[in-house]
């Protein structure tokens, strides 16, 4: 593995240009509206500086060590197939039946199947590029217009200009689907990918959806610039599980935002395991009266991994409820940051917001920061937070060891138990098992 000496650097931008935007759009014969939107986003991108540690949301996230020479080169597919994705990740989520599966290797769609039960109900589950061509009104209406917009930030604009591949999941009004949808972004080689997820649930629609970001260990720096948009109509209900298991050397910069309509519900669970550095903004907007949003996370950095999860719970209407539970375990010299904000707009009376970030530290060199925040402009609200950081409890480990469990297994049980309250929120048993297996690999696979 080639390691190069790095001198102190500026916060550099990747070596991408307007010509890359034009070439990408051209190559895929994209409709004109999309090409125009990309170019406008590029202008937006160019008008903004790269974020630095002087910017509040980036204060603790120093990505200067990224090597854009490899991480900033757009990755083109070179023959990777569906079978390259680990078999465990390709399993159906419930029993034998795959509701819908959309898999991308590098920037290319390699597999698409949609069960007839979904198609019959008018569910659209396809790659975003196809959706832009086949369903232009839908795509144009929702793509980066009201969840994540290009103005949101430098990387949001970059994704808007240059997204290389994406998922479009659409559930029509009143359709409640029991079979889950599942998509995977799998990267095989170093380079830059920009993935986009757009989920639209019309009023009264309901579905469960799992998306996974994965790669094996890559041998030089890579980047993933992602945007996730979840649009949940009045009375609609989405359970969204997002797993991230990038290999070493992957830097993720992503913006993820949900908008929930009147009496709508969002249950959003994320598992963050891999990557060299992850900076993810996750935001829920409770726009409609009576809406409910829950955000849960398990995260487990080890080695020199750095994870910065930046959450926001926006109460924009009365009688809205939000609930956040993040649980992190840190090993080795890893670092995590969680900064969470609950906002209540004036008039968002009778809202109830809660956030808790709990971390368990397994090494004296690891460090976890928790920065809760409240910004309440309404007067009749209940917003609270709770955070706790501590070492793994030696008394628990000792107790388990007195029953004959070797230290690593005792620690694994303690960690599993710590994660259980979040894992129990994942509606797919084999996904819970898979996360447990990641945890085991982290605990026992000490390099």
């Amino acid at each position: 593995m080639a390691t190069r000496r790095r001198v102190a650097r500026e916060f550099q931008a990747p070596p991408l240009s307007r010509a890359d935007v034009e070439a990408l759009s051209e190559r895929h014969h994209e409709p004109d509206w999309l090409r125009q939107a990309r170019l406008a986003a590029w202008d937006q991108y160019e008008s903004m500086p790269m974020p630095t540690t002087n910017d509040e949301p980036w204060r603790r996230t120093d990505y200067r060590h990224i090597n854009w020479d490899s991480a900033g080169v757009l990755l083109a597919a070179n023959g990777g197939t569906y079978e390259d994705i680990p078999a465990a990740n390709r399993q159906p989520l419930l029993g034998e039946v795959q509701g819908g599966m959309l898999a991308f290797v590098d920037d290319r769609l390699v597999h698409r199947e949609v069960d007839k039960k979904l198609a019959d109900r008018g569910v659209i589950f396809t790659d975003l590029r196809t959706a832009a061509a086949k369903y232009p009104e839908l795509a144009q209406k929702h793509l980066m217009t009201h969840a994540v917009t290009p103005e949101t930030g430098k990387f949001a604009a970059l994704n808007a200009a240059l997204w290389t591949h994406g998922v479009f999941l659409y559930v029509p009004r009143g359709q409640s689907v029991t079979l889950p949808a599942h998509s995977i972004f799998y990267t095989t080689r170093p380079g830059a990918t920009l993935g986009h997820i757009l989920v639209v649930l019309e009023d009264g629609a309901q579905i469960d959806y799992l998306h996974e970001n994965l790669s094996p260990t890559l041998d030089s720096d890579s980047s993933f610039v992602g945007v996730t948009e979840l649009i949940i109509g009045d009375g609609a209900n989405l359970r969204f599980v997002n797993l991230q298991d990038w290999g070493h050397h992957v830097y993720e910069f992503s913006h993820q935002r949900a908008r929930v309509g009147r009496d709508g519900q969002l249950d959003w669970i994320t598992g963050q395991m891999g990557g060299r550095l992850v900076k993810a903004f996750m935001e829920i907007d409770l726009d409609g009266q009576g809406s409910w949003g829950r955000m849960s996370a398990v995260y487990f950095p080890d080695g020199k991994q750095f994870m910065d999860l930046d959450t926001q719970q926006n109460h924009n209407a009365p009688h809205t409820t939000s609930d956040l539970l993040f649980k992190g375990v840190l090993k080795d010299q890893s670092r995590s940051v969680w900064q969470g904000m609950i906002k209540a707009l004036p008039g968002a009376q009778k809202t109830d917001g809660f956030q808790a970030n709990r971390t368990m530290i397994m090494s004296s060199e690891a460090r976890a920061d928790s920065i809760p925040g409240l910004e309440i402009k309404a007067d009749d609200v209940r917003c609270t937070h709770a955070s706790a950081t501590g070492q793994i409890d030696d008394e628990l480990v000792f107790y388990l060891m007195t029953r004959g469990l070797p230290r690593e297994e005792a620690e694994k049980l303690v960690v599993d138990g710590f994660f259980v309250p979040v894992l129990d929120r994942i509606p797919f048993e084999n996904v819970r098992d898979r996360l447990m297996a990641y945890v085991e690999r982290k605990l026992l696979g000490q390099a």
Binding site: D393, D394, E395, L396, F398, Y399, L400, M401, T402, R403, G404, L405, P406, R407, E409, A410, L413, V414, D416, G417, F418, F419, V420, P421
Partner: protein, 261 residues
């Protein structure tokens, strides 16, 4: 021949504070010993030290179990050799069910013996659990609950004995297992422990403040700890004597001895 646990001139400090000051005791398989003594005299310190708790530093002396010096062994190795402690204050393990935990514990034993072992099959494990829970008159729903999480004081103690029953140790230390148990629970737990003692030829060190558990499991030996030392050993009558007279006579005897020597 059964194994023996031999404690020789054991000195233990916590945070550089000497707590045990030369303990000598031998517990053999098949024998029942009671260890009594006032609060803070060092009984739990002894129990935790025997299991290898990292907070307790052995500054002098030895612990030999089945001919092996325990100083060199990790806590889990001591357990797999057949040493067990029922905790005075069992900890809560959030998110880990009793069944899951015990299956892991059994499998750890099987894997230590044979690295290729696949562990105990689920049906066999289920039967084992049900048998032992029946013996202790425990509701089988306990198996699915998180270990000690929300358990009442008595339930925690029963869960400790359940673990003892499943793990089948050669020498067990029961640290105030009787406290917090109501009369019925005390009888059930004590009889369960007695059955195990007989069927496994288990040696037991019962740490207690009260005579009542000793009515169910009759000790051959009673020892009294005062300020980090065993100052008196005798037969079952010693416990009855304590019940009546407390510890003052021993303290006086100690002080008397102190001024003479």
């Amino acid at each position: 021949m059964g194994a023996a646990l031999e404690i020789r001139n054991l000195h233990v400090s916590v945070e550089n504070q000497p707590i045990l000051k030369g303990v000598n005791l031998i517990v053999k398989q098949g024998e029942i010993h009671a260890l009594m003594g006032p609060n803070g005299s060092g009984k739990s310190t002894l129990a935790n030290t025997l299991m290898g708790h990292p907070a307790y530093e052995i500054t002098a002396g030895q612990i030999i179990f089945d001919g092996v010096d325990l100083m060199d062994l990790e806590t889990d190795e001591r357990s797999r050799m057949g040493l067990f402690m029922a905790f005075q204050y069992p900890v809560v393990i959030p998110g880990v069910t009793v069944a899951n935990f015990l299956r892991n514990a059994i499998n750890a034993r099987m894997k230590a013996e044979n690295p290729d072992s696949k562990g105990i099959p689920i049906p066999a494990f289920r039967k084992l659990m049900i048998d032992k829970m029946n013996m202790l008159e425990m509701d089988t729903s306990f198996a699915g609950r998180y270990l000690n999480d929300g358990f009442s004081g008595g339930e925690k103690k029963r869960a400790e004995i359940l673990q003892m029953a499943v793990l089948e140790p050669r020498i067990a230390i029961m640290d105030e297992t009787d406290s917090g148990l109501d009369i019925d629970a005390l009888r059930i737990v004590a009889e369960g422990a007695e059955k195990l003692t007989d069927s496994l030829d288990m040696g037991v060190l019962i740490i207690t403040h009260y005579q009542r558990i000793l009515n169910h499991i009759k000790p051959q030996f009673v020892h009294i700890m005062l300020d980090g030392q065993i100052v008196e050993s005798g037969g079952p009558n010693l416990a009855l004597h304590l019940e009546e007279h407390g510890y003052d006579w021993l303290r006086e005897k100690q002080n008397g001895n102190g001024s003479v020597s």
